[in-house]
Point group: C2
Chain length 328, copies 2
């Protein structure tokens, strides 16, 4: 059973994934993996090699165009109860949660930039559908949706996919955003992200795309070169509140954004994550869901691990200009 353990000084939780415990010899230097679909477990025809699907889109009763399945090597496990236990000054919790993979398309070689608009929209519909379903499990406090694209960004499989992990506790990063945003709201009676949208629209220099009710912008204080935030212009605290026409607009923007990133930066690996309100809180006036897109261009090193500061060699105003002028 995986275990959640808490650092006794700063309260940071880690997941000790005992089920896939790795010995020293398992950390072999990376080698170029064979490309291609020949033995891909996510490709059509290999459905039996994944755990049974929890969601699938099969338009007009035809073959699947998208599937969601439990992760075969989950970081957290769906079975079990939330049992806390102590060990002297230390705290641990059974690693109960969910870990799913969203197989975005049957096409092994596709990307968000090359898929048809409707197929990209299905990916963002699937995020909503899985959130709505998993929210029913009272053991979960939060669900993080994320995508690792490319080996250097942590993707272990090439076939286009996203993931989600449902956790029994609120993640530290989400608590920090909630606390900061609540403090801002108490003082100003306004949502901080709504204020960001207003100020960025007035200023213009960090905006990359602004269309269909969604913005893509380079944040004022980005951790990484070309880091981009995507958020609805109008206040909305939970991703699962999104309406079908909004999903379609978001998908169009994400398709265009990833296309520009590919052209400007040479198809880099990337991660993105969605920060949505905690599952157990109703619509919040002070939280505004958003997607954080991070191309993997630099390496995080000692200074970042030791301080929590980031050194970013590309000012966001320059990054936004390159992506704004990146053509479609």
């Amino acid at each position: 059973m995986p275990e959640l353990r808490k650092d006794p000084v700063i309260g940071r939780w880690v997941i000790i994934a005992t089920e896939r415990a790795r010995r020293p010899s398992d950390f072999v230097p990376e080698t170029a993996k064979p490309k291609g679909a020949a033995e891909c477990v996510f490709c059509p025809g290999n459905e039996g090699k994944t755990p049974p699907e929890v969601l699938a889109y099969r338009p007009h009763g035809g073959p699947w165009t998208l599937r969601a399945v439990p992760n075969k090597f989950p970081a957290l496990q769906i079975e079990g109860e939330l049992v806390p236990s102590g060990e002297g000054i230390y705290d641990r919790l059974a690693g109960v949660g969910a870990h799913e993979v969203i197989i975005e398309t049957p096409d092994h070689a596709a990307t968000l930039a090359t898929l048809p608009e409707a197929a990209v929209a299905d990916v963002f519909f699937a995020y909503r559908d899985r959130l709505v379903d998993l929210k029913k499990d009272p053991r979960f406090e939060y669900i993080l949706i994320f995508k690792n694209h490319g080996a250097a960004a942590g993707a272990s499989l090439e076939h286009p996919h996203s993931q989600l992990i449902a956790t029994p506790i609120l993640p530290k990063m989400v608590i920090e955003e909630l606390d900061g945003a609540a403090q801002y709201f108490r003082y100003k009676e306004r949502c901080v992200w709504c204020d960001i949208v207003r100020q960025e629209r007035r200023d213009g220099q960090r905006i990359i795309l602004d269309e269909g009710g969604f913005l893509a912008l380079a944040p004022f204080a980005p951790r990484f070169p070309f880091e981009t935030w995507v958020l609805p212009a109008a206040h909305q605290s939970s991703y699962e509140q999104i309406q079908p026409n909004e999903v379609e607009a978001l998908a169009r923007l994400m398709r265009r954004l990833t296309g520009r990133v590919n052209r400007v930066l040479g198809e880099p690996p990337y991660n993105y994550i969605i920060h949505t309100a905690p599952l157990r809180e109703g619509p919040l006036q002070h939280f505004h869901w958003h997607l954080e897109f991070m191309p993997k261009l630099t390496r995080v090193a000692g200074f970042e691990w030791g301080t929590g500061f980031f050194i970013n060699p590309t000012p966001p105003e320059a990054a936004a200009r390159f992506l704004r002028e990146g053509g479609d």
Copy 2:
């Protein structure tokens, strides 16, 4: 001038290193750099290619055995005043600070594991000497000492070196440790790291080395496989309080630890950082300086960036056993 910028939601500072601003074409995929000393700016004979040294050890008036120089491409600049400025809801600060490189040895091919004990001790003496000197500059609140070893851990030069960055504000990670430790102290009237030392010595299963007044242990909740903390067994809040015989004991332990890591894990890249008390605070009862050693074996991906949680596939008890039995 580099700029410090603050995220308006969670208050995280980033350094926008405008002086070395990078355009999209600068982010070329990594290629294997030529190995060897031929054109190394840190090798003997090339002293003129670094900025003038701020520290050097030249035993008996002979050639240097260790040098410290300002970083030629500093993340923060020594000149300038701390001018805060606003931009609507955003905050920024002139990027004043210091960024130095400690060239650990004239020997291009050496490592902490292969250098003689006395040479390793000089590295840890140099950390103390630079801390004592830079502490005199009243603009600095904190100094982080760190080492990136190997390209995958962020080292851009092969020659053995450490770095330090002096910052005009306390880093987020240090604030979190100080807050957590102060809270623990208020409740228990004991230093949390002293309690960790006591419990780990009693338990034994996470201890790797315990000699000369220093411990190397696998922490209870490590972010990374084989993460190791090194700390003095007796309470000491600031690194610069270290005594000569303690520097020698620490160097012996670090030399042995890196040797074991090399044998057990195949000479992996690694980072380490030293967390010491803030410059402007006297000896603290609740803070205990420590070194965090992190071999670079896995990749940080979307889940970690989105949650602040880490997924670690190697339980610390197993990691400690491998390193304890790793031989010398």
